[in-house]
């Protein structure tokens, strides 16, 4: 049998790949398909991987499926940008709207561990007010969660991932010290710091999910900077090397290369299990509860694709909001050329940041906030950026690439506003499994544009305050898709409640970035994992009270 993890499932025969050892295995419990497991989870990323761990550790029987392969980073990851695109979800999707999204590398992953296998590791907490942004700040929607409770779950995740962060964090209410110390700043991060000091605003070392000291069987970061293409040292604390090994040790089964096509619901409106495609066949796994955690595009798609006679508009969709209010974050940048050698591609890409404009409300002509951070694009990505952002090609591109070692840039992560028209719907075309593919519609609103203008202006000034010259703006980039199955207090205006339980089908849960009512101005993965931890605790508590 082939050992290509993209062709042949690895987690079979009672064992799963040992992510810490080339060729290694760990024992894994397996469940029969006709055995009603307590939970089947669709997707093993930030949401699903975390929840699988929490539920297994709480004593539930768990099968977690992922459409992607089960990697051993030490042996499967190459230092080659093209090759590593194997980590991305590149199945067919249609994009439209006034500002169609670029999907692929900068959005979602397809691996056991989900997008965290190739994410940039920035691990930030929400500003507390964002959980009530409608009532406290006058825009967006309120979350049904309390920030103080979230503060405790953030801590749980930061510990689980041994986040390396500054000794003191300059913004927001006090937080406990990060488990590991900040990494040494690279020149790109120092440029951010210089700019902030010139502009008179605080900056800090980015709390980041890569090790600054050894931990268990994981090695500390070697600062090679290949992070968004998969970390081959396991320094990166992705779900693949943190939550999932814990889940397996606690008795969960992971099924790799298992694409779920449909959630089955019986006549009493309860989910009974999932139809999934593995090893060339469609199969069915029975379950008492189904959790969908496939990322903000695949989650709505699966719910819509699971429409039945009783739920013609798709599952959990009595509000009509499944797929609606998907929200990305603005990811515009300013770039320049420094006289110094910057080599920004060394080290994790975003070692320093400022959240100033997340916490400062004065002097803004827009709602919401943004942070910005230092950058470290790998060469192919950089060439692509020059092509798409400045239209460089041929000799012009080659000559500009000569400056690669001197490139320095600042990039925002900004809060776009949730709009109903931004949505995931089903297209007529089908994919390799015969399933209708998603259509992702996106348009910016005036507020989004005002924030982007503000950020580009401010970052430009900050970069000019360093020795950078030839400064230009990259105006069209987005990242981090969330929403599409938002949580709320009211079944008429939300898809799930605060516990990620769908209003319509009591044993169907949604636990990933799609439950976000608003996206805030920080990268989302820490919040997704904190919500998953909370959901795990809530489910265990409900089970104890017989409320499942």
């Amino acid at each position: 049998m082939s050992d290509d993890p993209m062709q042949t499932p690895r987690a079979t025969k009672g064992r799963a790949p040992d992510v810490f050892m080339p060729g290694g295995w760990v024992p894994m419990r397996e469940y029969r398909e006709d055995e009603k497991v307590d939970f089947v989870i669709v997707g093993t990323g930030a949401g699903g991987g975390t929840l699988a761990c929490k539920l297994a550790e709480a004593g539930f029987s768990v099968v977690a499926m992922d459409a992607g392969p089960y990697w051993r980073p030490l042996e499967d990851f190459a230092s080659d940008e093209s090759h590593q695109s194997k980590l991305y979800w590149t199945d067919d999707r249609i994009v439209d709207g006034l500002n169609p999204l670029q999907l692929g590398s900068n959005n979602s992953g397809k691996s056991v561990g989900g997008s965290t296998v190739h994410f940039a590791m920035v691990s930030l907490r929400f500003r507390p007010e964002w959980f009530k942004s409608r009532s406290k700040l006058g825009y967006g929607f309120d979350w049904p969660l309390d920030w103080r409770e979230m503060w405790a779950y953030y801590r749980e995740v930061e510990d689980a991932l041994a986040i390396s962060g500054p000794v003191n964090y300059p913004w927001g209410p006090p937080r406990p010290r990060y488990p590991y110390r900040a990494h040494q700043l690279n020149a790109a991060a120092l440029a951010l710091a210089e700019g902030c000091e010139a502009m008179g605003i605080p900056w800090t070392e980015t709390p980041i999910a890569t090790l600054s000291a050894p931990r268990g069987r994981a090695r500390p970061c070697v600062y090679r900077g290949f992070c968004v293409l998969g970390c081959s040292t396991n320094a990166k604390q992705s779900a693949l090397v943190t939550w999932i090994p814990r889940a397996i040790a606690a008795g969960a089964e992971i099924r790799d290369l298992a694409m779920v096509g449909r959630v089955e619901v019986d006549r009493s409106d309860r989910a009974t299990g999932v139809h999934y495609h593995r090893n060339g066949n469609w199969r069915f796994q029975r379950a008492r509860n189904v959790v969908v955690a496939g990322y903000a595009i695949e989650t709505p798609r699966l719910l819509l694709n699971s429409a039945s006679d009783r739920f013609p508009e798709g599952l959990a969709n009595s509000s009509g909001l499944v797929g609606k209010y998907i929200t990305v974050q603005s990811n515009q940048a300013v770039w320049g050329t420094s006289d110094k050698e910057i080599r920004s591609y060394k080290s994790p890409p975003s070692l320093a940041l400022t959240e100033h404009w997340n916490y400062e409300d004065e002097g803004k002509d827009f709602h919401g906030g943004y942070c910005y951070m230092s950058q470290g694009p790998e060469p192919q990505l950089w060439a692509n950026t020059l092509l798409s952002g400045r239209g460089l090609w041929g000799d012009a591109l080659v000559s500009e690439m000569q400056n690669y070692n001197h490139v320095v840039g600042l990039k925002m992560v900004g809060e776009m506003l949730p709009q109903e028209r931004n949505a995931v719907t089903l297209a007529d075309e089908t994919d390799q499994y015969g399933l209708p593919i998603p259509c992702v519609t996106y348009s910016w609103c005036d507020n989004d544009r005002a924030m982007i203008d503000h950020a580009l202006g401010f970052m430009g000034q900050a970069l000019r305050a360093t020795d950078a010259r030839d400064i230009w703006e990259q105006t069209d980039d987005t990242c981090h898709l969330n929403g599409g199955a938002r949580m709320g207090d009211d079944p008429r205006t939300s898809v799930v409640d605060a516990d990620c339980r769908s209003w319509d089908i009591p044993n169907l849960w949604i636990c990933d970035g799609s439950v976000f009512p608003t996206v805030g101005g920080v990268n989302p993965s820490l919040t997704i994992q904190a919500i998953a931890c909370r959901t795990g605790d809530r489910i265990a508590a409900m089970a104890r009270r017989g409320e499942l």
């Binding site: 041994a162 500054p166 000794v167 488990p179 590991y180 110390r181 900040a182 040494q184 700043l185 120092l190 710091a193 210089e194 000091e197 070392e205 600054s212 000291a213 050894p214 931990r215 090695r219 500390p220 070697v222 040292t233 320094a235």
Partner: protein
């Protein structure tokens, strides 16, 4: 390749210092009857030599890592080697040479301190944790000054310029106590940077402070703890310093590629030569206790 050449060069310096020093010592006729003073002086030699050896290797590794950006970065290597050689040669070394090297070591340490402080202050972020963690270590050059001071004390003691009595013993105890405390501060900072990820990392910030405290008690003549207890803590501190090399070797193994990737991990992993500085200081502390007992001589 450059790494290997540098490693060979530094090992050569070390070997020359050790062999040179010991050869000189070997030619010395044994004194008719060794006094406590001789013992104490010899112990101080060993303390100074250990400390200087630790500085030699540590600064070699760190300054190599810093690409020997300017000539000044070679100074601690040269001075620490000389200091080691003269300390090891003990009484055979001409007094003036010994004094000269010791003074040079003291000055080089102070100058290094100045450079390191300057280096931090001009960095973005100034006196931030980031720079305390990753810029040139503030306290490290102090070890060279201490090696010089202890070497000088040995020399003075042996020549009789300095009496081997209670008062000298106390002064030396105070010096060793302060030195250990400085070392503790440095170790705490770097182990804090490593988030104390291994419980063993607490050892060098608990045992040596106890020794330092005990020595301070001796220095101020508090009457407590006893010489015996203090000696126990000092031996424990000396052992911690040696064990540290082993722990740091384990730490190198835990870096990506482990010992197979030694040329990188010796630079980026925990510093192998640093912990024995505790051993050197503890030996000096032990010498001070010996001097305290001199009245029984």
């Amino acid at each position: 390749m450059r790494g290997r050449t540098a490693a060979i060069a530094v090992s050569g310096l070390f070997a020359a210092a050790v062999l040179g020093g010991l050869a000189a010592r070997g030619r010395r006729r044994p004194p008719a009857r060794r006094t406590r003073r001789d013992h104490a002086a010899r112990q101080l030699d060993w303390g100074a030599a250990t400390l200087a050896g630790s500085v030699l290797f540590d600064s070699a590794i760190e300054h190599y890592r810093g690409s020997f950006e300017h000539l000044g970065m070679y100074v601690p290597l040269a001075v620490a080697s000389a200091s080691m050689a003269t300390s090891l040669s003990g009484g055979r070394c001409p007094g003036q040479l010994r004094t000269g090297t010791s003074v040079a070591a003291m000055l080089a340490g102070v100058a290094g301190l100045g450079f390191h402080v300057y280096d931090i202050s001009k960095r973005t972020g100034g006196w931030s944790w980031q720079n305390l963690f990753y810029a040139a270590p503030v306290g490290a050059p102090g070890a060279l000054s201490l090696a010089g001071l202890i070497g000088l004390a040995a020399q003075q003691l042996r020549s009789g310029d300095w009496p081997s009595d209670q008062q000298s013993g106390r002064a030396l105890a105070a010096l060793a106590s302060a030195g250990i405390l400085g070392d503790v501060a440095e170790v705490w900072l770097l182990h804090f940077r490593g988030a104390f990820h291994n419980p063993a990392m607490y050892l060098p910030v608990t045992v040596p402070p106890a020794a330092s405290l005990a020595l301070a008690g001796i220095a101020v003549g508090a009457g407590r703890p006893t010489l015996q207890t203090t000696r126990g803590w000092l031996w424990a501190t000396a052992a911690t310093g040696l064990a540290g090399v082993g722990f740091h070797a384990w730490g190198v193994h835990r870096m990506m590629g482990g010992w197979r990737n030694w040329s990188q991990n010796l630079l980026d992993g925990p510093p192998l030569p640093a912990p024995p500085s505790y051993t050197g200081l503890a030996i000096a502390g032990l010498a001070s206790l010996r001097m305290m007992e001199d009245r029984h001589d």
